[in-house]
Symmetry: C2
Subunit: 621 residues, 2 copies
């Protein structure tokens, strides 16, 4: 359904779009009908993209926003009123959303001047409006803020069970796939001691308990992994931890998806199994103060507890999970080395095949890359759907090639590939941008080189303790800004240890939470500046970094930190404008490629084609 390069595909795509949008028109009509038929009719209904666990990626049964609107990106919120249907999303998705949304939908580009947020939009509806929302799909903090804003207009936020689920007759059931133990040799800490530390944190805050709803937090705390959400090794559950007890709320009390081994593993830490659907009723039965992160916990949990029992604090599990221990870091380093070898095998093949004139489609390239990774004995699956975009498709920041009829990769156009995998010992995420053949334009070279300089700027960062990713984000943008260029996404996100590829709470970028989360040794973060020329090409260069203490020439009592990169794949050079590089840039480039060679050569023994590619790609400039 994406724009593509051949006329034939364009026609197909248009026909498909028409069918698609008719279907979505009907869904909209049915939803509006339900809105008016309620005992207390709604003037607007909000459909966020998250599930009840505030997951960024969701299972099919929770894909409410994409089901109603047609927009399939990972971030965005839909608001349906009697006369309008509006979809709010950010710069990563402007192009994709404009292609996927039907004509009945209005795209609201977040971050563009004078475009309201969905909250502001609700505030601009007539006074005394009734605005419905499923309270499990909005955070407690957002709900509180929204209620306050709406109150100034005399409007009400109405908590209601999900209307999209009511009109969605084809809704799949919630998955309940087998849960596996994440072994301590990779986790680096047993689950009992994690629970003990959490109890100490509760004690410090004088809290009786906490409820954890983020799926990756539960997986981390209990050293378990699942596969209920595509590409995310998590399983559907809630977890209540009190000073005395630990309760895991899981589908059918785990009868379908917990093996004897897993049940024993949980027993060892005294974890009781309860039914997924009982969590809200059971929360009402608890007593004492509960520690809740209102920025990541749903409004329905707050409602179940009652706001006077809530002690609002940054999630201890999220903060603890973000700082990886030595075992996790060792796994992450190893996983990235093996992943780099697989990625190089793929790019060597792709380069050779394309320059020999063979036709390869974007989706075929993605599948080949997956095949290379699958050969790893620790491979579990993809960390996200591979972004494989030729020419203009590379400018769609979260592009996914259609499996049916994706574009043919033009070796003379800029090609962007962003991919990652889940291994038992770590999660990878890497983007490379190549030109396989022909001459780049001056502008393409300039943009690529500025992005490279942005990447180097973060890679070489040195900063004192307490510095946040918000503060250094501008270091990456500086080389681009001086040319009048920029990119409409963050510079980096946290990465899980065999967990979600997007992991909080820290990151490098302008999100408000990044202002409050200093970068600490052991944190993992991506470094992925880019540049996108809509309709032309996209460039992004991404490595994964670990925050590390850094020796400085003049040490003081203030610790200084920097980054260790763990991704070792050549960055390409056909797009490089060497005249723009400083001496320091050039030294970094050569040093990095020497490191790549040193890491890759032992892993690629016997694979002469890939070794030759690596050698060419790592020559000194």
């Amino acid at each position: 359904m994406f724009s593509s390069l051949t006329r034939r595909t364009q026609l197909n795509s248009q026909r498909f779009s028409r069918l698609f949008s008719t279907q979505h028109d009907e869904r909209l009509t049915r939803l509006r009908q339900v809105m008016t038929e309620l005992p207390k009719p709604l003037d607007a209904f909000v459909v966020p993209s998250e599930d009840a666990h505030q997951s960024e990626y969701t299972a099919d049964c929770d894909n409410r926003r994409s089901w109603i609107s047609g927009f399939t990106g990972s971030a965005g919120c839909a608001v349906i009123t009697s006369s309008e249907a509006a979809l709010f999303t950010d710069g990563r998705y402007f192009l994709q959303a404009s292609q996927e949304l039907g004509p009945k939908w209005k795209l609201m580009k977040q971050g563009i001047q004078n475009v309201p947020t969905w909250q502001e939009y609700l505030g601009s509806l007539p006074t005394n409006s009734n605005i419905g929302i499923d309270p499990s799909l909005i955070t407690a903090a957002d709900a509180k803020q929204l209620k306050q804003n709406l109150a100034t207009r005399g409007s009400h936020l109405v908590s209601i069970s999900n209307l999209v689920d009511m009109v969605r007759d084809d809704r799949p059931s919630r998955p309940s796939n087998p849960v596996k133990i994440h072994h301590e040799k990779y986790a680096g800490q047993d689950h009992q001691s994690k629970i003990n530390q959490l109890r100490i944190a509760l004690d410090v805050r004088k809290c009786q308990g906490t409820v954890i709803s983020s799926l990756d937090e539960i997986a981390w705390l209990l050293n378990l992994r699942g596969s209920d959400i595509h590409c995310c090794p998590v399983f559907f559950a809630y977890c209540i931890v009190t000073q005395q007890e630990t309760m895991l709320y899981i589908m059918n009390k785990g009868r379908d998806n917990l093996s004897k081994n897993v049940v024993e593993h949980l027993n060892k830490a005294g974890v009781q199994l309860c039914d997924y659907d009982d969590v809200f009723e059971d929360l009402k039965e608890t007593t004492g103060q509960f520690m809740i992160d209102s920025n990541t916990t749903s409004y329905s949990i707050l409602q179940a507890l009652g706001s006077d029992r809530v002690c609002d604090a940054s999630s201890w599990v999220s903060d603890a999970k973000a700082v990886k221990n030595e075992a996790e870091l060792a796994g992450i380093r190893e996983a990235h080395k093996r992943d780099a070898a697989a990625v190089c095998r793929h790019f060597a093949w792709l380069t050779n095949t394309l320059t020999q004139g063979t036709t390869i489609r974007e989706a075929e390239a993605a599948i080949h890359l997956e095949e290379m990774r699958k050969q790893d004995p620790f491979y579990v699956g993809l960390a996200f759907d591979t972004i494989s975009g030729t020419g203009p498709n590379g400018a769609i920041i979260h592009y996914q090639p259609s499996t049916i009829n994706s574009a043919i990769i033009d070796p003379k156009q800029v090609y962007l590939c962003d991919s990652g995998a889940q291994y038992l010992d770590g999660t990878t995420d890497i983007t490379r941008t190549f030109l396989f053949d022909g001459q780049p334009t001056d502008f393409q070279k300039r943009a690529f080189t500025r992005v490279l300089q942005a990447h180097i700027s973060i890679d070489q960062a040195v900063f004192p303790k307490e510095t946040t990713g918000y503060q250094i984000d501008s270091w990456a943008r500086q080389p681009l800004w001086q040319d009048g260029l920029d990119y409409r996404h963050g510079t980096g996100h946290g990465v899980g240890a065999y967990l979600n590829v997007h992991e909080g709470p820290h990151g490098i970028g302008s999100r408000p939470i990044y202002k409050t989360k200093p970068l600490k040794p052991g944190m993992v973060v991506t470094n992925e500046p880019g540049y996108y020329e809509d309709g032309q090409f996209g460039i992004r260069i991404e490595n994964v970094l670990i925050v590390q203490p850094k020796a400085v020439p003049y040490p003081s009592e203030t610790p200084f930190y920097g980054f260790e990169h763990v991704t070792f794949v050549p960055m390409g050079r056909r797009l490089l404008d060497q005249t723009l590089l400083t001496r320091e840039n050039r030294e970094w480039f050569n040093k990095y490629h020497k490191e790549c060679r040193d890491v890759l050569e032992p892993l690629l023994k016997g694979d002469s084609a890939t070794l030759q590619w690596v050698e060419q790609q790592t020559e000194t400039i």
Copy 2:
């Protein structure tokens, strides 16, 4: 009372300190007595450094915090309990405060880990404490926050008239110096049209009126200037603007300090004169919603209005004042050129005199610099007391040489001079750091060069619309951080147009407000990174900049901005480590010094000694 270089001065200084601290001990005892004798005794009393107008610099009658504690710096808050006396201040003042505070006082270094803020300190007092404060000396926002925090401990914030004023028998009366018209040729806009614009802003927010308490905002709005506060061209007043009326609350209704001309000037815009002390009673008589910036307006104003009548919004006057118009910018440019010539006359004289072996004390140098500036027909006075520090005194960030017995400037030590003046057409602020003779240490050279690189980094900044000074602050720190160095102050502050040298709301640094105030064309801001080695030397290089639209190689619909520097004084070169400079650094350095020569030569005609100094100091490197 500052540390100085000769043994004799040290002895004098110690004796003086002892006398001083006995006096402050007595004051503390008297204050504590009053605290316990109140009908409702206080467990703590808070003494902020600001006056009722939230002024950074205060008149003698309002110097409550320095009177009680002995600490004379411009920022800090004192808290007195029955058993402790604590002074909270930031990194600029750690050294100065430790030297000025008596032994009964505890210095609380803000920004150092595990050191509580004064608000946190109050929260750590026993539960159910009564904490007294003069509500005119705290902002409405801070009071609200503080009350909420204290409530969780069962403690109370008690509004009370100022206890320091009660025990201070030598309190001078409030000044009421003549007020003058700031002519429209410098202001660029008449006061009636400013008031009209303010009324439109009130109308947009559906407000009936506003009360302005910041003295520089009143001076700007009415195109008037005063001299009630040392170095600040402001006068004591409040101003109420409603849709119908403008009332100026001024000492004795202006009978003592407003000439016939000024009264006519005010009449032209329909401004009514009222008595300074009547403002709170009159506010109680007003009706309708009032627009108030709770971050800059006192709690007592909020109390007079009643919180339900307050529409909290960023101060329109502050925001409008920050963006200078063309007439103001022209004045600022001219004032800085003439100021640069005066500063060069001084530095040429100082260099020649010191290298000839003549003894010059820090205070003498400051006086000579003032003499040079006084020759300007537009000169009004200093913008702040000149910081003139040799060797270790340069490391005291806001150092002022004692007028009685300041240190002798050692030409072989690093000398730091930060100074500025008020001219009818603009306010200047410049810091230069020189070594007059001898060889610098490698570390001194490295630190100077890193500070220069930090300065260049901001001077050359290019950034898109909506970028804040918070975001680019790290650009200045990057060259220092890579060596493990840093400075404990912001990189830049706004500067008034013949108004306060520290002017909000924008700036370059980590203050929370800087995150919310994008840099806009017409804003004036300093660029003053530094490095301070306690007990050794201080380095700072400061120019004044104007935010300007910037042409970029690849223009888009997003405007990009950069800076125009208006300060033209050579930066010194004896401390420069040329091996650390990049090619781009060197080009900037040479270009800047060429500009200095071009600006200065016509202004220094006939002054061969200064011209020779300028020539030497601007040679190409």
